[in-house]
Symmetry: D2
């Protein structure tokens, strides 16, 4: 699934490029948009008491970007185990890869890690469906 | 009361100076430290169900700062009415003024704006005491 | 001129609302978009060696917003003197005002404050034209 | 080497914990402090035209932190090849691990990736010395 972010002035740094920490935020934006598009917005999750913290984040920076660049982000499900979903992100500017990232998320029920299936079968099946898709 | 913040790389922007939005955050840091030092930390306020949103913020930028600069912040009570406290900030680098700011805060009880005295007499008296001090 | 910003998760704070410092960033986003739309993008300014630092920023917070809210921002020229342009912002969610802000900008030529007309007559005339418009 | 960061209110999010993207910034703060302490501040690097972009960043979140927590960060050299240095970070609150991270950095000379030894032998030897140390 596709998402775009236009780099803002406040996201650049003294090296005159996008500060690397912001790509972690772009990943959250893309993930949030992805979940909303497939019908599982964070808001719905919160209403259903699904708490899903980030337990791991990784980004590889291939090419710098800067103010005004439009970053196109391909977001999808990279891996799925009973307890953890891995979301993958490939970011492009003008068709060239600038950053590749992934984030891992577990699911809590009453504060304890729980299998996704047990938390919400519909959410599990959605992740499974998107896992098949080419990122 | 005094507080210091060392400018981080991620707080600079493409103009190679501290991004102006960050001074609003330095003001929060200084205010938080001020309240903690006088015994009314945000944590204590939260425990006592005192909710105090920012209703107005203003900053005047006199001189730019950049990565590595240590900003010394003088923080104090600039004005106090029954409903609103105004906190003032003067920021220096090496004794020269770089930014002057202020923030206004109201106090809520059960979600409604309430006189500070009614919310917490001790807090009101503390603000009154620091109002006398030269900023 | 109109601009929209969707509040991201990373822009919220422990009070479960949009952190107040982010509105200063939304103002920059709206200003950047406004300048781009009228043909004076920051990029063009940089190419023409126009440096225009923020010298003053003010925001009044009327109503809190949170994750997922779409903030519509009306941006325009509020005031114009030979040396300083004041940009005004009115922010709405679902038609209700949430924040009113303004930022002041001066113009530098070879590092010294200079009348806007002297820096760039086209830019001055554009500001003058938009000053007439209702914000 | 040790470094501390006190979590600020603006670093928390709607889940009432420190937003995960901020740990990447804490890593930069710790790295910056580490380099300053061993005599290779970013400022000195910039003066010597050493450009060292982040090419990879990874963080594993073990335990959430929140406003007011003091995060103690152990920072050191985890790995060193001719072209890439890996900086490692272990973060604690009250002696308990909250986050483990690492960042990889290459070195550019006239815009091209270059062996660290060729860029600056003193920097290479400093990294080598700290590689021996237990993180």
């Amino acid at each position: 699934m596709k998402f775009s972010h236009k780099v803002q002035y406040y996201e650049t740094d003294k090296m005159q490029i996008t500060h690397h920490s912001n790509y972690i935020r772009f990943m959250e934006e893309a993930r949030s948009s992805f979940l909303e598009n497939v019908g599982y917005s964070y808001k719905r999750m919160e209403e259903e008491n699904i708490v899903s913290p980030v337990i791991d984040v990784h980004a590889k920076f291939v090419k710098s970007t800067t103010y005004g660049d439009v970053i196109d982000i391909n977001v999808g499900v990279k891996d799925l185990t009973p307890a953890v979903v891995t979301i993958g992100y490939t970011m492009y500017v003008d068709g060239e890869i600038v950053c590749v990232g992934e984030s891992k998320h577990c699911f809590l029920k009453e504060g304890r890690p729980t299998a996704i299936k047990k938390v919400n079968m519909g959410l599990y099946e959605m992740f499974l469906k998107y896992k098949e898709e080419k990122l």
